[in-house]
C-alpha cells in the first residue's frame, strides 16, 4: 500500500490553473521530493493531499483511502507559511498544538521537553513566541511537526531561515526519521538538498508534472555522454573518441564530451595509452539543479 496516491488532480483558482492533472505516489519509508520553482503549485498540491483544499477533479488517497480526522494524528506537517501563536509562551504553544494531535498532557510535556533540549530551545521555553528569532521559531515549528511521532511527515521548504548548522541538524533528523521507518515528503526548490536526501521525486512546473521517478533513474536519463577528469597533464587537442573538452573552474579539472559510440571504459584506456596521469575519472552526472533548469526552461538540450 502506498502512503500517498495522487491521481490526476487539478485545481483552478479563479482563472489561474494551479494544478493540471498531477499524479504521483509516495511509498512507505522513503523520502520523496516534491520539487518545482516558486509558484509551480507545490504548496497547492500539498494542501490538496492534506484535504485543506478540495481538488476540482482527481483524487487523493492517504494510507489507502480518503482523509479522515483520525489520520490527521498520523501526519506531521510543516507548512511553508510558518505559524505559531505569537502571544503565548513557547512551551504553552507547543503543548497546545501537541494536544490537538492527540497527545495526552503528560506525554506531550515529556516529549516537548526532550525536543526543546535537543533543539537548544530549553532556556527559551518561557518566552513568548514572538520574542524568539526566526530560526528558533523554525525549530519550534519542527517540534510541532514531529512531536506526535507521525507516520507521514510532510515538510514544505524545511531549510528556509536556517543557518548551516541547523540545516545539518534538520537533515540528520530527517534521515533519523527515515531510519525509523517514517515516510517523508519534502517540498522544496533547493535541489542540492534533494540530491542528498531524496529517494524519489516529482518535479512540477506551472501546475504540470514534468519529471517523476527515482532520483538515480532521473539522473541517469539526463546524463549525457560525458566524463570528468582531473589531471595535472595537458589534455591533447585531439584524442580518439573525444568530441570536445572544456576546463571547469579548476584548471586541472576537465569535462570531456565523448563520441556517442565510445564508452567511458574505452576512453579511459585511450587516456592511459596517451600516458596522461589521471587523478580522478568519473562519469559526469548532471546535478538536479541542472536537470531542473533544463526541464523548466526547456531551452537547453540534453546534458552532453
Amino acid at each position: 500500500m502506498n502512503t500517498i496516491e495522487v491521481n490526476n488532480i487539478s485545481k483552478t483558482f479563479g482563472s489561474q490553473k494551479a494544478l493540471d492533472e498531477v499524479s504521483f505516489e509516495v511509498k512507505p519509508g522513503e523520502i520523496f521530493g516534491l520539487l518545482g520553482p516558486n509558484g509551480a503549485g507545490k504548496t497547492t498540491c500539498i494542501r490538496i493531499v492534506l484535504d485543506i483544499f478540495k481538488p476540482d477533479s482527481g483524487s487523493v488517497k492517504l494510507f489507502g483511502n480518503g482523509m479522515s480526522e483520525e489520520k490527521k494524528d498520523q501526519i506531521g506537517y510543516l507548512p511553508e507559511e510558518r505559524g505559531l501563536y505569537q502571544d503565548i509562551n513557547l512551551e504553552e504553544c507547543l503543548n497546545y498544538l501537541a494536544s490537538l494531535k492527540g497527545l495526552s498532557s503528560s506525554e506531550s510535556h515529556k516529549r516537548i521537553n526532550e525536543y526543546l533540549i535537543r533543539f537548544n530551545l530549553d532556556e527559551h521555553k518561557k518566552k513568548k513566541v514572538k520574542e524568539l528569532s526566526k530560526g528558533m521559531q523554525q525549530k519550534a515549528q519542527l517540534i510541532t511537526t514531529l512531536v506526535h511521532d507521525p507516520k507521514l511527515i510532510i515538510i514544505d521548504e524545511p531549510f528556509s531561515a536556517l543557518d548551516p548548522l541547523n540545516t545539518q541538524m534538520v537533515k540528520d533528523i530527517l534521515r533519523e526519521q527515515r531510519d525509523l521507518g517514517k515516510t517523508i515528503v519534502m517540498c522544496t526548490h533547493q535541489m542540492h538538498q534533494v540530491e542528498e536526501l531524496c529517494d524519489r521525486l516529482v518535479l512540477i512546473n506551472q501546475g504540470k508534472s514534468v519529471l517523476y521517478g527515482a532520483l538515480s533513474e532521473v539522473q541517469k536519463n539526463y546524463a549525457g555522454h560525458a566524463i570528468h577528469v582531473r589531471t595535472e597533464d595537458q589534455i591533447p587537442a585531439s584524442l580518439p573518441g573525444m568530441n570536445k573538452f572544456k576546463r571547469l573552474e579548476n584548471h586541472h579539472h576537465y569535462q570531456i564530451d565523448l563520441d556517442s559510440q565510445v564508452s567511458p571504459q574505452d576512453f579511459l584506456k585511450t587516456l592511459v595509452a596517451a600516458n596522461i596521469k589521471i587523478n580522478q575519472f568519473e562519469i559526469a552526472m548532471p546535478t538536479l539543479d541542472e536537470i531542473f533548469i533544463q526541464v523548466v526552461t526547456e531551452s537547453g538540450m540534453k546534458y552532453e
Binding site: 485543506i52 478540495k54 490527521k72 501526519i75 507548512p79 507559511e81 505559531l84 501563536y85 492527540g102
Partner: protein, 401 residues
C-alpha cells in the same frame, strides 16, 4: 480528550487570562460604583438635616399632626419641624444655627398661598416639599381618613393599550426598565463575544496557524470551538456584571425599601432567552465569517460596527414601540432578525404579542442563524488561507472550497 473541547478551553483561557479582559470586566462596575458614590456624596454634602422652624400666622397648624420628613438616604436623620411663636426667638435660633430655615406662613395663606422662607442659605427644594407635605397633612386632617390619605398618596396610573390584556403599571418600575436593560445587556454581550471571536479568527490568520490547525482538527470543529469559546468569554463578562448588578440591586433595596414590591415576569424572561440565543449564534457566526474574509484585526473591527447599528436601531424608535406596539414599524422591527432581539422584549413589555408573531420571529432567527453558520463555514474554508487578498461575497457563494 475531545479536540473541540481542547480548543474551547484554549480559546477561553487565552482571553480570560489577559490583563485587558480583567480590566474590562472590572472597569464597568467600578465606574458605576464611582458614579453612585459621587451621587451619594453629593446628596450627603448638600443635605442639611438640622431642624426647620416655622411660625404659623394662619392658624392652620394649631395642634399639628406629627410628621417626620423622610431623609433621602436611610442613614441620615429626618428633618424635624419646630414651632415658634415668637419671631425674634426664631430669628435668634436661625442666627445660632439651631434651625436651617424659618418658614413663615402668611395669615391669609389659603388665599395668597404665600410662605416666606428666611434662611442664611436657601434650603434644598426637597425641604420645601417636605414642609409643604406637613402643611397639607394638617390642612386635610379634618377629612375622613381614607380620603385624606388617598389625596396624600396621589393616583396610580395604569397604562393600557386598547384591546390588549397586558398592561404596564407605572409603579412597577422594572417593567419599564427591564426591556431596555436586557436589550442593552444583549448588545453588550454580542459586541464583546463577537469582538473576541473576530479577533481570535483574524489572529489565526495573522499568526499563520490556520494550516496547522486544520491539519489537526476539522474546520467545522475549529469554528464551533471558536464560537463557543469566545461566546463563553463574553458571557463570563456579562455574568460578572450581572452579579455586580444583583449586589447593586440588593443594596438599593436596603436603601430604598419601596422598590421591593416590584417583580419580574418569568414568561417575559423566557421569551427574551428564546430570542437571544439564536440571535447570539447568528451574529457570532457573522463575526466569524467576517474574520475569515478580512486580513487584519483593525479592518475587521471597523466592519463589525455595521452589525451593531441595526441592533441599536430600535432604541431610536423606542417611542413608537412603546406607544404603538402593534404598528407596522413595531411589527417589522420585532420580526426582522437584526432588530428583533431588542424590539421583541420591548413590545412584549407593553402589549400582548400574538403567539404566531413570536413563533415567526424565533423561526426567522433560527433560520438566519443556520444560514449564517453555513455562510461562515464556507467563508472560513475559502478565506482561511488567504493572506493578502480579501474574499469577496460572490466568491463565497460561487467558489468551491
Amino acid at each position: 480528550m475531545n479536540k473541540t473541547w481542547l480548543v474551547i478551553k484554549h480559546e477561553y483561557w487565552k482571553q480570560v487570562k489577559k490583563k485587558r479582559f480583567i480590566l474590562a470586566i472590572l472597569s464597568l462596575p467600578f465606574f458605576i460604583l464611582l458614579m453612585v458614590a459621587i451621587g451619594f456624596l453629593s446628596v450627603i454634602f448638600q443635605y442639611n438635616d438640622s431642624p426647620v422652624g416655622y411660625i404659623d400666622r394662619s392658624s392652620l397648624l394649631d395642634n399639628p399632626i406629627e410628621y417626620k420628613a423622610e431623609a433621602p438616604i436611610g442613614l441620615m436623620k429626618p428633618i424635624e419641624f419646630i414651632r415658634y411663636t415668637d419671631e425674634s426667638e426664631a430669628e435668634s435660633a436661625l442666627q445660632n444655627n439651631i434651625i436651617q430655615a424659618l418658614y413663615v406662613i402668611d395669615k391669609n395663606f389659603i388665599e395668597t398661598s404665600e410662605i416666606k422662607v428666611i434662611a442664611n442659605k436657601a434650603p434644598d427644594s426637597s425641604v420645601n416639599g417636605e414642609f409643604y407635605t406637613f402643611l397639607k397633612l394638617n390642612v386635610l386632617k379634618d377629612l375622613p381618613e381614607e380620603i385624606s390619605s388617598r389625596l396624600m398618596e396621589g393616583a396610580s396610573f395604569e397604562v393600557k393599550s386598547t384591546g390588549e390584556q397586558t398592561s404596564a403599571n407605572e409603579d412597577n418600575v422594572l417593567v419599564f426598565i427591564l426591556p431596555f436593560l436586557v436589550g442593552f445587556l444583549f448588545i453588550m454581550a454580542v459586541n464583546f463575544s463577537g469582538g473576541y471571536l473576530l479577533q481570535s479568527v483574524v489572529e489565526e490568520k495573522e499568526n499563520r496557524t490556520m494550516e496547522i490547525m486544520v491539519t489537526s482538527i476539522s474546520p467545522t470543529q475549529l469554528m464551533t470551538a471558536k464560537v463557543i469559546g469566545n461566546l463563553s468569554v463574553g458571557l463570563t463578562q456579562l455574568v460578572v456584571w450581572i452579579l455586580f448588578g444583583i449586589i447593586g440591586i440588593f443594596s438599593l433595596f436596603r436603601i430604598f425599601p419601596d422598590l421591593q414590591s416590584t417583580k419580574i415576569d418569568f414568561s417575559f424572561l423566557l421569551l427574551t432567552i428564546m430570542v437571544f440565543i439564536p440571535a447570539f449564534v447568528m451574529i457570532a457566526a457573522m463575526m466569524a465569517a467576517l474574520g475569515a474574509t478580512t486580513t487584519e484585526t483593525k479592518e475587521a473591527q471597523q466592519i463589525a460596527g455595521i452589525f451593531t447599528i441595526p441592533m441599536v436601531l430600535p432604541y431610536w424608535f423606542m417611542q413608537v414601540l412603546i406607544e404603538k406596539p402593534n404598528s407596522p414599524l413595531s411589527l417589522f422591527f420585532s420580526l426582522f432578525p437584526f432588530t428583533a432581539p431588542v424590539s421583541l422584549p420591548m413590545r412584549a413589555a407593553f402589549s400582548t404579542i400574538p403567539a404566531w408573531q413570536i413563533i415567526i420571529t424565533i423561526a426567522l432567527l433560527i433560520i438566519f442563524a443556520i444560514a449564517a453558520l453555513w455562510f461562515a463555514g464556507r467563508a472560513f474554508r475559502l478565506g482561511m488561507l488567504r493572506y493578502g487578498k480579501k474574499l469577496s461575497l460572490i466568491e463565497i457563494f460561487t467558489q468551491r472550497p
